[in-house]
Amino acid sequence: MTDASTPVPPKSSLYATSDRVKRRNRSETRFRAYGFAAITVGVLALILLVISIVSNGASAFRQTYITIPVELTEARLDPAGNRDPAEMARVTTFGYAPLLAQALQQHLQGQGISMEGVTPRDLMAMISQEAPAQVRALVLANPEIVGQTVTMEMLAGGRIDGYFKGRVTLESAERDSNVSPAQLLLAERMAEAGLIETRFNWAFITGPDASDQRPEAAGLGIAILGSFYMMIVVLVLALPIGVAASIYLEEFAPQNRFTDAIEVNISNLAAVPSIVFGILGLAIFINFAGLPQSAPIVGGLVLTLMTLPTIIIATRASLRAVPPSIRDAALGLGASKMQSVFHHVLPLAAPGILTGTIIGLAQALGETAPLLLIGMVAFVREFPDAPPEGFFDPTSALPVQVYNWTQRSDPAFVERASGATIVLLVFLLFMNAMAVILRRRFERRW
C-alpha cells in the first residue's frame, strides 16, 4: 500500500547550502553579533565613564595663580606697631582685602597694563576671596615682614581660573553675573605679562575644603585623612574579627543550629543594602552609644560591619584551599587541633586572606551612603588630631566629599568633584593592583 502522494524530497546537494541551512547560519551570525554587541556596550560604558570623569576632573589638579608684589602697610596691619601677633590678629581679612586691591591696581599701572572696562571692585573680584586669608596667615606667622613689600602668589578667582582652563569663555561671561568679558581680557593681558600662571595644584590634594563661594581654594586634605583614619579602624577591627570568625566556622564549628544561623547571617549581611548599615550606625553608635557625629571612629565601625562578610567569605575560601594533608601531617606529628590551624593552615592561607582584606578595604573606601547618615557630610575645615584622639574628631571622607561638592551651586565644583573622583579611583586602582600582585606572587596551587 503505497501512497503516491508522498512528497518528493526537495532536490538537495551537499555542495549547495539549502535555504534552511542559510537561515540557520544567518541566525547563528546574528546571535554571535548580539553577544559581541553586548560586550561592546559594556566596554564602551566603561570607557565613556572614565573619559567623562578624567576630562572633567583633570583640570582640578592645575590652578591659576596671580603673582604681584604687595606692600604690607604697617598702619593697616599693625596699628600699635609692636608686632605682637595677638594684637595683629584683631585685623580681620576685611582689613587685608583693600591692601591687595591697591597692590594689584598699582602694579598693573606700573606695568602699563590697561584696565579698561574693569572697575577697582571688579579687579578685586578677580582675586580669590581666599587670598586675603592666605596673606593674613602669612603675616601672623611672620610678623617681621610687616612694612616690607613682599611678592605674593595668590589664588585667582574661580571664573578667572575657569577661563584659563577653558570652562569659562568670553561668550559665557556675557551671561554670567559673576564675571565680565572685560575682566577676562584683562586676565589675558596679565597672563601675557607673566602675572598670571597656571600650574600644578598641590593644595587640591593637601588643603582643607573651602566654602561655597570659593571653589578655587577647595582641597581634599581632610577627606583623604578621614578616609585613611577609617581604613585604619576597619583594618584593625575587621581583619582579626573576620579571620577569627572564619577559622571557627571553617575548622572548629560543629554542624548545628547555631552555626547554621551564623552562616545564614553572614550571607545575608553581604547582600543588605549599604544604607541600612548607615541607619544601624546612626541608631546604635550615635544615638544610643553617644559617639560623636562625623567622627572616623563611627564611620570605621559601620564600614567594619559592612566589610566583615567580604573578609569572612575570602578567608574561608582560602582556608578551604589548604589541602587536608597539611592538617593531617600536623596532627600526626602530635600537634593539637589549634596548633595545626595556627601554625600551619593559617600561614599557608595568609596570601588569600590578605588579598580578600585589601579588596574589602577597597570596597569600604568607596562606600558613601552609610557615611551620609552618620553626619560625614558636615563642612569641616579643621584638620583632625593625630590618632587615637583624631578618631573622634569630625572629618570628611573622600567619596562623601565628592557628593558634597556635587551639591554646591558653583559649576567650578563639578571640576573639583571629578578631580576628587580621580584621586579616589587612583587609590582604588592601587589597592586592587596590590591585591592582584599579592595573589600572583604568593598564591600557591596545590
Binding site: 546571535f31 560604558a45 577569627a244 553572614i266 541608631a283 558613601t368 557628593y403 573622583t421
Partner: protein
C-alpha cells in the same frame, strides 16, 4: 586617665604576666622543660590571657553603659518646665554636655582653676563668654539648671572614670595573680589557653548575628515609635509624599516604591540583556585573547564605587539624555530622571549579572552541549534550546539578586533620579526612591521625635524586608538548581 593609657597599662600587665608565668613554670620543672605538661610559652600565654581578656571586656562594657547611666542621673536634675521651654530634652542635654566639656577644657588650658571651675555661678560670671574665649561656642546663655546639671555631669564623669580605671586595673592584677599562682609544671596550660582561644573565636563569629540583631532592633524600635505618631495604614497605602516639619505631613510609601521599582525595572532592562549576552559570548564564543581582555574590563565596572556612577549620571548621562532625547521629544526638561538613574544603574549591574550568569552557564554539564552538537545543532541553537533552559532557574536567581541590588542602591539615585515623589509613567521625569528619602530625612539636623525623621526608619525596615525577601528567594532558587547537576 585617657583610654589609651588604660589599655596600654593592661597590656603591660599582661606582658609582665607572660614573662613571670613562663619563668615560674620553667623553674617549677627545675629548668627541664620536658617535665612540663605544655610548652613553656603556653604558661606565659595563660597568665597573659587571664590578665588581659576579662579586664578589657569589663572596660568595653563599662564604656557602653556609663554614658547611659550618667544621662539618666543628670536628666533628673533638669526641671520639666525647662524641657517645655526648649521643646526637646536632647537639646538641653547636648548643651549640658557642651558646658561640661567646655569647663573641662578651660581647666586644661588654665583659663580657670580647679576651684573656680567647681564654684562657677551663672549669676556672677558670664559663662558663655568665658567658654567662647577658649573656643567653645554655646548657642544660648547658660541658665542655673543647665549649669547645675553640667556640674553634676562632670562629677559623675570623673568618678565614673576613676572607678573604671581602678576596676579594670585591679581586675587585670587579680587575673595575673590568680593565673600566676596556678602556674605549676603539672598545670594543663595548653588546654586552658586553647579553650580560651576557642571562645574568642566563637565570640568573633557571633558578631554577624549581633549585627543582624542590631539592624533589626534599631529599625523596629524606631518604626514602632513612628507608627504611634503616624497611622501605619496611611504610610503603606498613602499616595502622597509631602513632608513638612511644621506637622500635617503626608508620608505615603507608594510614590517612593513606584519610583524605586520603575528605576529597578529600567536598570534590569539594560543589565540583563547586556550581562547575559556578554556572559554567553565570553563562555561560548570568545577566544582566549578576547576573553583575557574583555572579561577584566567588564569586571572593572564592578569595582567602581557607586558614587562614581552617581557623578557619571549627574554630569554626563543626565544632560545627554535631556539634550538628545527628552527635550527634542517633548518629554520634559529635567536632567535627573528615572531614565538617567536606570541606565547608569544598569551599567553598574552588568558585571553583576554577567559574572553570576557565567558561573551558571559553566555549571551546565558539557555532556548536554556535546549531545546537542552531536544532533547537528549550531552553537546558537545549543545555547538557546539547551543551555539557557537548563540554566534558567539560576539565571532567574541572578536577576532577582540584581534587582535586590538595584532596589537598595543609594548614591546613583540620590544624584541621578531627583527628589520629587510623583506617581507618573514618563521615564524622563524626575522621581524619587525609598533610599533617596532615607538619606533626605536623616541628613542634617534632625529631631528624632518627629514623624518626619522617624519615617526614615520605617522606610529602612521596608527596604530591608524587600531586599531580604528577594535574596532569600534567589538563594533558594539558585541552591535548588545547583543540586540538579551535582
Amino acid at each position: 586617665m585617657p583610654l589609651i593609657w588604660i589599655i596600654l597599662a593592661v597590656l603591660a600587665l599582661g606582658a609582665a604576666g607572660y614573662v613571670l608565668g613562663r619563668k615560674r613554670a620553667v623553674s617549677s620543672a627545675g629548668g627541664d622543660i620536658r617535665i612540663l605538661h605544655s610548652l613553656p610559652n603556653y604558661y606565659g600565654m595563660n597568665v597573659f590571657l587571664t590578665a588581659v581578656v576579662p579586664a578589657l571586656l569589663v572596660l568595653v562594657v563599662w564604656l557602653l553603659v556609663q554614658p547611659a547611666v550618667i544621662q539618666r542621673q543628670v536628666t533628673q536634675l533638669i526641671p520639666d518646665n525647662d524641657i517645655m521651654e526648649s521643646g526637646e530634652l536632647s537639646l538641653i542635654m547636648s548643651d549640658v554636655r557642651r558646658v561640661a566639656d567646655g569647663l573641662d577644657r578651660a581647666l586644661e588650658q588654665g583659663a580657670l582653676s580647679r576651684e573656680e571651675a567647681r564654684m562657677i555661678r551663672s549669676e556672677f560670671t558670664n559663662i558663655r563668654e568665658t567658654l567662647a574665649s577658649i573656643g567653645v561656642a554655646l548657642g544660648d546663655d547658660v541658665n542655673a539648671d543647665v549649669l547645675a546639671a553640667a556640674q553634676r555631669y562632670r562629677t559623675l564623669q570623673t568618678t565614673g572614670n576613676t572607678l573604671m580605671t581602678a576596676a579594670v586595673l585591679i581586675l587585670a592584677a587579680l587575673g595575673l595573680g590568680y593565673a600566676y599562682s596556678r602556674t605549676h609544671k603539672d598545670f594543663r596550660a595548653r588546654n586552658t589557653v586553647e579553650r580560651a582561644v576557642l571562645s574568642i573565636l566563637i565570640l568573633a563569629s557571633t558578631i554577624a548575628i549581633l549585627t543582624t540583631v542590631g539592624i533589626v532592633l534599631s529599625m523596629v524600635l524606631e518604626t514602632r515609635d513612628f507608627f504611634h505618631l503616624y497611622p501605619a495604614r496611611e504610610f503603606f497605602f498613602g499616595t502622597e509624599w509631602i513632608p513638612s516639619f511644621e506637622g500635617g505631613s503626608h508620608l505615603g510609601l507608594l510614590p517612593l516604591l513606584w519610583g524605586t521599582l520603575y528605576i529597578t525595572f529600567i536598570a534590569l532592562l539594560v543589565a540583563v540583556p547586556v550581562g547575559l549576552f556578554s556572559a554567553i559570548y565570553l563562555a561560548e564564543y570568545a577566544g582566549r585573547r578576547m576573553r583575557g581582555i574583555a572579561k577584566p574590563m567588564i569586571e572593572v565596572l564592578a569595582g567602581i564605587p557607586t558614587i562614581v556612577y552617581g557623578l557619571f549620571a549627574l554630569i554626563t548621562v543626565g544632560p545627554m539624555l535631556r539634550d538628545y532625547f527628552a527635550e527634542p521629544l517633548g518629554f520634559g526638561t529635567s536632567s535627573s530622571s528615572v531614565m538617567t538613574a536606570g541606565i547608569v544603574m544598569g551599567i553598574m549591574l552588568i558585571p553583576f549579572v554577567s559574572s553570576l550568569s557565567d558561573d551558571i552557564i559553566n555549571a551546565v554539564p558539557q555532556s548536554l552541549r556535546d549531545g546537542s552538537y552531536g544532533l547537528g545543532a549550531t552553537q546558537s541553537e545549543t545555547v538557546k534550546q539547551v543551555i539557557l533552559p537548563a540554566a534558567l532557574p539560576g539565571i532567574v536567581g541572578a536577576i532577582l539578586l540584581a534587582a535586590s541590588r538595584a532596589i537598595g542602591e543609594t548614591m546613583i539615585v540620590v544624584m541621578g533620579a531627583g527628589a520629587a515623589a510623583t506617581l507618573s509613567l514618563n521615564p524622563f521625569e524626575a522621581m524619587t526612591t525609598v533610599t533617596v528619602k532615607i538619606v533626605g530625612q536623616l541628613t542634617g539636623d534632625t529631631d528624632f521625635s518627629s514623624p518626619e525623621a522617624l519615617v526614615a526608619f520605617a522606610l529602612g525596615l521596608t527596604l530591608f524586608a524587600i531586599t531580604l525577601g528577594l535574596n532569600i528567594l534567589a538563594l533558594f532558587i539558585v541552591r535548588k538548581y545547583r543540586e540538579q547537576y551535582e
